[in-house]
Subunit: 162 residues, 2 copies
């Protein structure tokens, strides 16, 4: 298999995203329903909230990367614009886990449809002018930033009492 | 300024690393000496340990990326091979902060000496055979992996009681 240099660079970034999502899958898979309701640290986010938050932020990547409609826009009002505790009844863990898996599968499938050149083009929240000023604000940048966002919250989730 | 596609891809990854190190600098800069000695969560790593751990792991990037000798190999035995609490007296916070800044500056300077092609070549902990099997195990992969490692621990550090 011969890859161009830019194909290789993009593959490394997608592999890093996939690997981090896989770590999250493993971590979530061992929690009981009751453990999902625990706070990672007293007074901070519950794991169920972080699961919903990560699902919603990943789902929004469909829009920002220009990969079609997001699957669950209704989650925004629960897990992004509101902090944990503001909404009395959260969706069931089993539904959120279904959304989490579905959103990440959809993204991963659509990532393959982008050429390396498209990964290096501006993302959808950037104007042409801003992009001309800073060409690193492209789709690849969004992918790395969301991978780091996931790692950040995984570091927290792992601290929750078992 | 015109960049090739692979230059652009590598720049995005270096910018993501730099941005995450910058976030860490900001977080560390507001801690008092006393706060550095707090555990992020009762029974887990102290912030001073995570500062030393991150410094040591970053320092080792010199070796794995083939960028010359690491600056503080003596930290390995304190912050990587031993967990927090195993070593009675840790180095002073002020020394660790100096090392942290020095290590990251050295790395950032040396990153600029690598061509995009070199970023996409195998890293130093890989044999030629293993690399032939998986060409994504290159320097860029190490950079992304260390950026995620930093984000993971930043997510924890931010939870420490103020």
């Amino acid at each position: 298999m011969t890859m161009t240099q830019e194909q290789l660079a993009v593959s490394v970034a997608i592999a890093s995203w996939k690997n981090t999502v896989g770590r999250a899958d493993k971590i979530f898979s061992v929690f009981t329903e009751e453990q999902f309701l625990r706070e990672v640290v007293p007074g901070k986010n519950r794991i169920i909230y972080l699961l919903g938050h990560l699902t919603t932020v990943h789902d929004a990547m469909h829009t920002i990367l220009g990969l079609g409609e997001r699957l669950h826009p209704e989650l925004d009002a629960i897990f992004v614009t509101q902090p944990d505790g503001a909404i009395e009844t959260l969706p069931a863990v089993s539904d959120l886990m279904k959304h989490w898996t579905e959103v990440n599968s959809s993204l991963f499938e659509k990532f393959a449809s982008l050429s390396p050149k498209e990964w290096l083009q501006r993302h959808m929240a950037m104007s042409d002018e801003d992009y001309a000023k800073d060409p690193t604000r492209n789709r690849l940048n969004v992918l790395l930033s969301r991978t780091n966002h996931l790692s950040y919250h995984l570091g927290q989730i792992i601290l929750a009492p078992k």
